[in-house]
Symmetry: C2
Subunit: 511 residues, 2 copies
Amino acid sequence: MIKRALPVTREADFSAWYQAVISEADLAEESGVRGCMVIRPWGYGIWERIQRLLDDRIKATGHENCYFPLFIPLSYFEKEAEHVDGFAKEMAVVTHHRLKADGYGRLIPDPDAKLEEPLVVRPTSEMVIGAAFARWVQSWRDLPVLINQWANVVRWEMRTRMFLRTSEFLWQEGHTAHATADEARDETLKMLEVYRDFAEECLGVHVIAGEKPENERFPGAVATYSIEAMMQDGKALQAGTSHFLGTNFASAQNIRFQNAGGEFELCNTTSWGVSTRMIGAVIMVHGDDDGLRVPPMIAPWQVVIVPMLRDVPEDAAIVEYCKSLQAELAKQSALGEPVRALLDLKPAKAATKRWGWVKKGAPIVIEVGGRDMAGGNVTVIRRDRLYREDGKLDSNAVARDTFVAEVSGMLHDVQAKLHVESMNRVKGNIVPADDFAALEAHFADGVKNPGWVDVRWSKPTGPALDKVVERLKALKLTIRNAPMGQTGCDDGACIFTGEPAVERVLIGRAY
Amino acid sequence: MIKRALPVTREADFSAWYQAVISEADLAEESGVRGCMVIRPWGYGIWERIQRLLDDRIKATGHENCYFPLFIPLSYFEKEAEHVDGFAKEMAVVTHHRLKADGYGRLIPDPDAKLEEPLVVRPTSEMVIGAAFARWVQSWRDLPVLINQWANVVRWEMRTRMFLRTSEFLWQEGHTAHATADEARDETLKMLEVYRDFAEECLGVHVIAGEKPENERFPGAVATYSIEAMMQDGKALQAGTSHFLGTNFASAQNIRFQNAGGEFELCNTTSWGVSTRMIGAVIMVHGDDDGLRVPPMIAPWQVVIVPMLRDVPEDAAIVEYCKSLQAELAKQSALGEPVRALLDLKPAKAATKRWGWVKKGAPIVIEVGGRDMAGGNVTVIRRDRLYREDGKLDSNAVARDTFVAEVSGMLHDVQAKLHVESMNRVKGNIVPADDFAALEAHFADGVKNPGWVDVRWSKPTGPALDKVVERLKALKLTIRNAPMGQTGCDDGACIFTGEPAVERVLIGRAY
């Protein structure tokens, strides 16, 4: 058996493995502040790459970035009862604006500085952005309003898990207002497609885009769509959502426009977001027992050069050799951008550094020792195929010029391979179930990585849906979504109600 | 007299003019949330440009970005008494984590969800980042730690002014830890120089870099340095600061390392930051009575193309002509990046759009009508020279190819010209004062735009400095900084104490 770089394998304990990747790859750590994490340089570098690539796509579809206040007055929430109920009211509330010494060496909130109206730290910004839309929109000429914001938000969580569920997290939230429901629906689906394409092309994470069932809708939404990714333990992770809000928020917030005929109408609005949760998806989709594997498009460094130094005079020549290699690589272009190559000169042993970068998941690690230099070579390790068939580390001496010429194709190849792996996992782990008994059997205790099942249903609503949700909950299951692009449902009955089915939905366990 | 685009001139009322620019250029607006502003697309676009350019410089000097929690437990502040006193304790305090309905249709903080330990919304992150440094640093091999964060911070302000002083603002804060005081001092000055260079090269804002007097030091710092910019009303704006913290924070937070000899030592730390305040400086340095003038390097759009459409069939050809012009411009490179050209197709009159972009301060506005198209021309308006000598708008038909060939040089020229204007203003408005009476006379009531004075002083400390500060305060003056690179002080006495002077300092009114 090959010794792996992490202290625990996916097979042995997936949850402990996930924590180990986060820790060993220097992605994040507990902060000492309840429910909040510190995102470390490698983790934040991945987030910056996600921001850059997604922001380009958000702007290319006509949206502009803005910034809205962190604090939302309590009264704003009272306007939208359904929305607030949905958030279960678990929010951070600011009640004082000053500290004072208590006379015993401690600090306390100053009772004389109590706010007249408490402020809520934004859990999402529909309320405060809607208020701005109401100011901005007067006439049909002002529409559509297409806005996005990159921000931190806070939802008080009792049980937290790094990247997946933290009290504070980073995200982007798009908010738009339109003259018609059709246009707003189109926008909702357009951004869902932006997310799907982004997840697959940039993150290499294959996802299923579809509509969430009524019970999983965003509070106050008319329809909620999601992209669902499959983790290596078969569980689903909702990796992004897009909401058609109809006139619900516009009505609560008085977002109206005068149409070409001079009459006042309510706007139709949308909102959509993805968050640092995406990093959790990348870990659980691409990680292996040696740590993370970062898709090249979102890797802060795509090629890391580790010089093998021995505290001898020859070292200087090796460093020079590596510097010029780094400069040559930076002149290459891969996946539409200049290659990002780092020369790691930190004072540590080369083997320690090599394994550090393997655990971090840099797509390509280059080692350069005296022998490589003498032969005009570099030693190449590809993170996506770390071992040979005999279990030895697959590191190969390659002519330096050949490597430089091939680096672009190699990075392209790693990116594509990770995506294909993910796609095959999704395709290979969704199975149909023709009745509830088959569903139950599929998710019976002891079945490892059951993946998802694909079932026919009649799309019940209200109490009938509640009953379905209850039955699934007993099996720790949820309806993930009804995939887009269904061409109607073949004859058959709903596995829950027995009524004629109208569509197929995916069911699985989820994070 | 030329009619200007803004309702108020700088001359008539500088403060009202500042607000008018912010409003008419769509930079920001009041949010309805006390002390917090909404940063609108054009204002946020400028901030994104500032972030991109400054972030490149921060990374090029070896720093990595991270993200730390928004919330800081109260107990963290109790460790660093001097630091907390300095912040006057005006901070937003989170005391509850849930809302509940009060039974009368309102929401209240749930008394059952009171936090055991209140959380402070970060006013700055020394305390929480220092706690991370204490975990990260064990040995000299872990040093230096070079970290930066882009984040929102909150300091409860009683009197707010958009961009200059808001309760919530956006900034970057760098935090570093070093093995020696010398290295930390070098870092402090290196980042001061990064700020100076950035302000001048990218913002076109000439600044004076120097050390703040003891009374203006960051709470807990050993030395604080600033860049000071001069506004068009002669007031100073502190546009960035860099702090050498010595071992003060390391001692309070136990940031220690084992040196090569095996002994434990305290680290020396630094911190440095700039904020959305820089946008206030850009407005007050470059704005004129027609609105903002944005330096091309930080302009979200450098060239805006306004087609003159008349709801006739010919319109389609004009739009095509403009689209191909936009594509040609995007292929040009200016100031080190591809030209950012926008085609404005919003449904509004061309004249309205032209003046909208003038007020926003787009460096170049292009108008294209039927006649321009027929002649293969474009009509060019340069924002930095809007009027001819006769007071008419200086818009000129130019051959399209000529314009495309010259756009790069033109943008370079606008950038340089704005900087030179700013530099001349600073150089022309700093005058020496040889004694306190001269200082008093310079700032006598009724003197318009007095600028700054440059005086000799003995650098008093403690109560002697307090006395100086008091005397200046009576004249509404403050010591801005002691400029870097002084080659010793020529013979003479301190204008405050009469003792031998040791350096020169700048004195002025300030925002």
